[in-house]
Symmetry: C2
Subunit: 517 residues, 2 copies
């Protein structure tokens, strides 16, 4: 359909695949098993074409909803194996992964409900109005085409093969090809198999969900002429590189990337004075949760100078956090190097030393750390995300110094303000307002970790938090994979039922300017 | 607020401006008057900073709506001068420009109504739900920041300084800096002055609307750290270049460009057999409207081979279209060269010769042309837009040949199908469905020219029609300039009134999953 579509005869003859993909144990660094081989260009091409061929089946909204629910059921039926496999590859632990699987199946079913409701179709009908020289116009949203999804290292389920990008894309009617994450290739294969089984069982071609492994395969996937959009969760460096590839295509495509975020927390003077213990313990719990491997980990905390109680409580609580392995040896090395580099900057005080901390069964475990620096000595490097259990306190004196730090912050997924119980007046409102340009979610008197799957959630923020204005969590994540189409003077016989006057499918819509629920 | 924000001391000392901007008469090619000078980097910086400084005033929705209405009033008060100036620079004629001004003021007021209604804020409230471990979440959409708007050559009002991009951006709460089009710099200055007057009169800083001239100024505008998004209407070449600049910024920004479109029309065999006269005359009217200078001009028409009646009617009607000037000498040269190149391809039949056709008062006038070619001889170059009064008939024999041509088409703003009165069955539906991937608006038994300003309008389409999935016409054009923000656990005292439970501003919203109108 597109002028840059690959001609079948342009496809290379199949090369022998030689790069094995191993599943490894991050507790020890040892390889577990070879689970796949890296995909070459012909494999990627095949996966994308199979996905495109499955798109017509997704035109039936009832079938889409059924697919999402069937996928949730298969994942639940195989829960034990899924969780064990994910734990063996990521060391995230059974309790966390049990919760993550529940989140994943909840998400799949939530999108099925969204498909059933049909509000996302954004149906608008304007009947012809000769007075305005207006023809009959009927608009709805249609799927974009094949969506490429890049799995995240830190969520082997909820932001990977069966995760929110996949669920929202399928809900939109878009087939998916996932680029597996090298930290959990076996989990990826297992989940992809389950979703493909679910598809087969309800009569959708199993090509509706493809899976490829390998860095080059990911690039190929973004470049493929039939790929219509990309969902990505990962690092600023990797995400920006893929964003640039998507933008440089002959036909540029939307790239919805969630990259990096510092998630600044601002503690007011009165909050520190009145809630020191609670804030110290709460912050420790938030930044060490999942061993600091959340995209919404609070990595920079603005605290009033000269409030040792909060710092003391924080260090005491964070010191109790158990040492644990990170997702892979590369992430571990980057964390240790990041801690070392930051700790050595002039003016940086090491309140709690992060570092290697081998434990029984996990020689690669690390322990959490806390650094502190005066606002006047805050270097640019301390404004970069350090993935893992580290947080940096920035001690400010007075509102001017505070404002100066805020001015230096780039975009974030979240920004948090911790207030005293009686800070509810215009000053507090102005402070919150001051954080609005910094982030997509503003948390008051809470912590940014924990991203609820809810219609009002926004998980995105100014660059580099995300590369677009979209969210990757919550119902509106579906909007990323749709485009509006207007029909002008279409006779009812030729129009989709969603656009018929009688509204046989009972979709929410706007007719001649009036909203109908 | 952004890490790549320009430091004030990084601004260059002001250079002496030396490049004059002239208003010219496209009927004769003669210069009318110097109306401005091209903006250097310091001028662009000043305009963007003045716009950014005006943003807080737009936070008040009532003031935004007032500004849009006041702008419409000023434009109407100065209608005679506006129309005369635009006509002197564009030769579009007083009747057309009178209509365009009415469209422009209608658009401004329609966006004021949209601001008043508040549905675009997309308010979603989810109350805390301990069972789902869900905190209180409240989401709404907020303005992105300064929007850069690039004026279109062919709509000196409705897609230029006071046009849809500006109106939708102001409605969203975003100040605007417009890059004037060199075809109508005087009109741009006049309209900008009127809008700035309107702003002053209601207490909004006049920097809310900036205007700069010059190609380099346009690039500078897209690169400026405080520019948050771009709206563009123009050529594929120019638009793609700016798209790439926007994507390559340290902080990439949304680029909503409407570039080029062939606007294919498909005439079925039975339609040609039963409606030849009507279709010939209708097509002639559509492709010569505005001297063929519409982005939705039907530039490629698939007609059944061996149906001379339609072609005869078309040529007869198009031959009656008065010769007239194009928007500028460069466009005229490109048109004449495009006609000459296309006419010389093997297999191309010149049914009506387009070319230079001097008339009284307009020595630079051109007349319309019609080319025809067999589907089997359709070269790639004939699939490129030729701006101006030319259309190309592609004669197809049978459905396979038809499908082969459709397969070669890139994205379009519109795709049209002309059916016979009794073609309302599954075959016709399949044919319409076949056009869906090609365009953002599907016209049945009508013509694509005439883009109604209506909620159900979508003016956009797959690349290169547009560079995003957005529309530049109709109410949803406002969505381009907004980003969602969620507040988590925000006490009511600190939240915007739109997010209060009591809904004091009566905005449409979704609360705990239920839509409230």
């Amino acid at each position: 359909m597109q002028s840059d579509a690959v001609k079948p005869d342009a496809v290379q003859p199949e090369a022998v695949q030689t790069v094995p993909v191993w599943s490894a144990d991050p507790r020890t660094g040892e390889q577990r098993a070879q689970v796949a081989v890296e995909a070459g260009p012909p494999d990627v091409d095949r996966a994308v074409r199979a996905a495109a061929a499955a798109e017509p089946a997704l035109a039936d909204r009832a079938l889409r909803a059924a697919l999402l629910r069937a996928a949730a059921e298969r994942l639940e039926s195989a829960a034990e194996e899924v969780i064990a496999t994910a734990d063996a590859e990521t060391a995230l632990g059974v309790p966390r992964l049990t919760g993550e699987l529940a989140r994943t199946t909840y998400q799949l079913r939530a999108f099925a409900d969204i498909v059933d409701e049909g509000a996302f179709l954004d149906v608008v009908i304007d009947h012809a109005d000769p007075a305005l020289a207006r023809p009959d116009l009927r608009r709805m949203k249609l799927p974009l085409g094949v969506v490429a999804v890049f799995s995240a290292s830190n969520f082997p389920l909820a932001f990977s093969v069966p995760g929110g990008d996949t669920a929202s894309a399928l809900a939109a009617g878009c087939p998916v090809v996932v680029k597996a994450h090298p930290d959990h290739p076996a989990t990826g294969e297992l989940c992809a198999g389950l979703i493909r089984e679910a598809a087969r069982a309800i009569g959708v071609p199993e090509g509706v969900l493809g899976l490829v492994h390998g860095l080059e395969a990911g690039l190929e996937l973004v470049r493929h002429p039939l790929t219509a959009a990309v969902g990505f969760t990962g690092s600023v460096r990797g995400g920006r590189a893929l964003h640039d590839v998507a933008a440089a295509r002959p036909r540029p495509i939307p790239f919805h990337g969630e990259l990096g975020s510092l998630n600044p927390v601002l503690v007011t003077e009165r909050a520190a004075a009145t809630r020191a213990e609670e804030l110290g313990a709460g912050l420790a719990g938030s930044f060490t949760l999942g061993n600091g491997q959340f995209c919404v980990k609070p990595g920079l905390v603005l605290v009033p100078a000269g409030e040792p109680a909060l710092e003391k409580a924080l260090v005491a609580a964070a010191g109790q956090a158990p040492a644990g392995p990170l997702l892979d040896p590369r992430i571990r090395e980057a964390f240790l190097a990041g801690v070392e580099q930051r700790s050595a900057f002039p003016g940086v005080e090491v309140l709690l030393a992060a570092g290697s901390a081998p434990v029984e069964g996990a020689p690669l475990a690390v322990r959490a750390g806390v650094l502190a620096v005066a606002a006047a000595e805050l270097r640019e490097e301390l404004l970069e995300e350090c993935f893992g259990p580290l947080t940096v306190l920035v001690r400010y004196s007075g509102t001017e110094e505070l404002a100066a730090v805020l001015d230096r912050l780039a975009g974030n997924l979240t920004a948090t303000v911790q207030l005293a119980a009686d800070e509810r007046g215009p000053e507090a409102a102005a402070l919150l307002q001051r954080l609005v340009p910094l982030a997509g979610r503003l948390v008051v008197d809470g912590w940014p970790t924990g991203v609820a799957v809810a219609p009002a959630m926004h998980h995105g923020g100014p660059y580099p938090a995300t590369t677009s204005t979209s969210t990757s969590v919550g119902g509106t994540a579906i909007e990323r994979w749709l485009r509006p189409v207007s029909y002008q003077n279409g006779p009812p016989e030729l129009l989709p039922p969603e656009l018929h006057d009688a509204n046989p499918l009972a979709v929410p819509r706007r007719v001649d300017g009036r909203r109908e629920s």
